[in-house]
Symmetry: D2
């Protein structure tokens, strides 16, 4: 009738840090990883903002958005070319641009000067994505797709690893360790909302878990960013949760920006428009400076 | 085989705001309730900080803590006299001071000039608690103890209603409505951590839900505060989550402060000491000012 | 940077069983508490079925339902007189019968011969409820209302303690210990659904946690029953989850039965009608006999 | 301030059944898919039991286990050759047998006559796995690895799709639809435990969600099975949750069986030994017959 309190599947133990995450583990309190992506530094005083649309809808749209993001002070352009959709059916509007989307992203980079981040969903498409993207994103559904992690790590490109929406911190660090083990040290952890009993709107599936920010930074040297747009799925909550993220210690923020949110091809409830984004950048910079960092340079 | 999407038990609908929370519901976007407790205003630019020990251990301890809280700029003294413990057995150290604790709190108020907040657990003890406390706290376990809510409302004192750790926003507003219905309009909502699949430490039972801050403020005019100490149960996370709370829009912060945390009678992992508290006050003030509010006056 | 795995708030440890739940703890693998309520035994081979309406709507309705429950082989009549509603406003239909409901319950007992179980919500109403009820129910919202637990225990009547919808097994046993400490050994634990990320219908707030049945029976000698009606809030799932409960080892089942479910004053989606109940009793008896127990006598 | 109750990400709506899961959706109340795997029928009166070790440790071990499973009345042999481990480091004991494991599984099938089920983790290894396995398993971490789902569907082999441990019913059916869209109609849904606030042991990460069994069977014609071993991670709870699964309406059960559980290479707390398995088969058969089905033939 002895009941163990051991929680091997739930918590990160000191032993785990040695045996299971030797590469992801923090070696001393001030151990942080810093690296730059085309001049944008992660892990330092700057809190880079990655912004752009959910889906790259067409070339003019992404080029225009890239310039608007840049003009507002954004650092990196985000945009989806390969999109994991929960159902196999697409509408004409809700399409997946794939290789063409990558080309449009490249055009937007040329036009704006911003580095770009986009998702990679399969080992087959890694070469095409890696040829264009400055940061490769692993989406929440693929966080524990270990063959994909290993293959993407081998590109040598920076990787942003989104947390699985049901994953523990321990699961997440385990996934990061797969990437680090390939010798790729440029890994960014991204909290993007988790399943929870209450999210406060029926249309909001997830709860942005900000407690994981100090929890992760306590045990790993990797930068930790958040994505309040996908987490909340509700425009009015994006700015408060972005500011909260910076208060919690986030090392970067991802924001969904769309030229015309109500006509977005995907998830019209969550993106902000250009003016809202510009205003949010100033608000984020103010909080960043209050915690000794900065958003605007 | 028709499957309804209606979620009466989960979300706050526009209809709820009319029929179920007519008193708690926001009537316009800028509708906020403001009221003062002995000169400390809730709902305005100030973000009041309520600080003090989990349990009032003895008179010198609470008097000294009150002065330290005041000297660091704290606004209200917190301290537990009646304590709902998860198990009926107390150790000599982990005792419940009850009426004597109230007397010590009164002494601490006299010595420091700070208003005091303390929990009330039963209708029988309302007169004793209301005779001393400036704000009556309803704890997480009693959020839906409706006879207690109604009785405590009748004192006319300000009430801080902690969210039940499994309660939805809708449940919480329903409980607030019971208080408001008695004509008591001085109600403060306090998020103090919820149950969730992952809390990131085995010793941390709860996840501070900051998404509920903008969600609550979207539908109710009542001030919303957070308690990062009880939520995280882990000192190193308290400051990040306090700063995050302010970023999220919290209207007040409750912080556990103890003269000697490692020897606290209850929950030694969560309180900060005086020096940490003073430092945290400055950090909170900086973030508050970045969002157009203030902590230090 | 040492990260503890200790989980004092989450799991039931062997040490807890000695120091925190000495009365609730199982002393040997075959230690089970058995007691009878007007001839209906809990904790033995019989799996008592407690059935009846959510709310006692009027005298003829409860008398008729009591007879229907008895004729189908049900053992105990349930019905709500004092009802904790999530909002303070009642419609004409959704009323709270209070003392009158208790009188009607007493009439239904006289007419049917069935013992009755009903909820008690406040210390003030304990005498009235205890004068009528054979089992006093503590509802999910009051599981940690310790003054109520202590007061209700002193009646000496059997107590059914519903699990708080966010409560851990440890919280639940702690609450039971408060009752046991008063010398009242007739305690029934009732699982009634918990908050969870997914419940599979927007109108179903809770997930029936059947894993807690073997988990509880591993550490406590108290009988554990389930309430699939309140948990699922959806009639078509009630029978499967009742049969599943018996498979999991439940020592009793509570079922909501209404003469005309679609016109029920409260929660019309969950009750079964008389014919469905009679059919369900046979189905439950078959599964009970497959696990060496019985429902029908 | 209008708050929508729509929950597109959470619930399965009638509209979803038409537009998002036209192939997975039930067309009438008695619409069920039945198909046989080497003579073992899914979706009919038989409740097939898939049993065997977590990891195929060596040839004699899997051959012996296969015979023991068959002799106890088990229908299908399970065993892991390709294993997704949460961390990239393996001990000598906790290794991944890969192609060699497949060979040993094939030997075990020849020796026992049982069909075999094993996991496939990457598109690259599909040919090797499909050459041996009678059912291809998609693990919980790959439930939304859509390129893998599509590729594995094209083999034409039966697919068992484990539910992601954070996935909603809607996510799960969306993943099944990807397989069905390739013309592969032999899909089995497997509930294997989900993340939840309380699992009742620190070493048990998951909660077996039995409410999803009637919920899934209400909207889809596909067979739904459960895996109580991986869900509970605790041997004493496996039989109660297996019996509960059958009560809930499960169309199959997966059980971890090991010749010497305390020396299992992986997860020694969860498997049962041969004698326990034989006893459990009889207990499952009794409950199955009580609900009009059968386990033993």
């Amino acid at each position: 009738m002895t009941i163990s309190n051991a929680a091997p599947g739930k918590d990160v133990s000191a032993e785990d840090l040695v045996s299971k995450f030797p590469l992801a583990a923090k070696k001393s309190p001030d151990h942080v990883t810093r690296f730059s992506v085309r001049g944008v530094e992660f892990g330092g005083p700057l809190i880079p903002v990655m912004a752009g649309p959910n889906t790259v809808e067409n070339e003019p749209m992404i080029v225009e958005t890239a310039k608007a993001v840049r003009d507002a002070g954004g650092h990196i352009l985000r945009g989806g070319a390969f999109k994991p959709l929960t159902f196999p059916y697409r509408s004409e509007k809700y399409f997946e641009p794939r290789e063409q989307g990558l080309e449009w992203m490249a055009k937007a980079r040329d036009a704006s000067g911003l580095p770009i981040i986009t998702e990679v969903m399969s080992t087959e498409t890694i070469p095409a994505v890696a040829a264009v993207a400055d940061i490769l994103q692993i989406g929440t559904r693929n966080m524990q797709n270990y063959p994909l992690l290993t293959a993407v790590a081998k590109t040598g490109k920076p990787i942003m690893l989104k947390r699985g929406f049901g994953a523990s911190l321990r699961d997440w660090l385990g996934a990061a360790e797969y990437i680090l083990l390939e010798g790729n040290t440029q890994v960014i952890l991204c909290e993007r909302g988790v399943v929870a009993p209450h999210t406060h709107r029926g249309s909001s599936r997830f709860l942005l878990d900000l407690q994981v920010v100090p929890a992760a930074k306590e045990v790993t040297h990797l930068p930790v960013v958040t994505d309040p747009s996908h987490a909340t799925f509700w425009r009015p909550w994006v700015q408060p949760m972005a500011l909260a993220s910076i208060g919690a210690g986030a090392d970067g923020i991802m924001i969904e920006v769309h030229p015309d949110p109500s006509n977005a091809a995907v998830d019209p409830l969550q993106p902000v428009d250009y003016a809202e984004f510009a205003s949010m950048m100033k608000a984020m910079d103010a909080v960043a400076r209050a915690v000794g960092r900065k958003v605007l340079v």
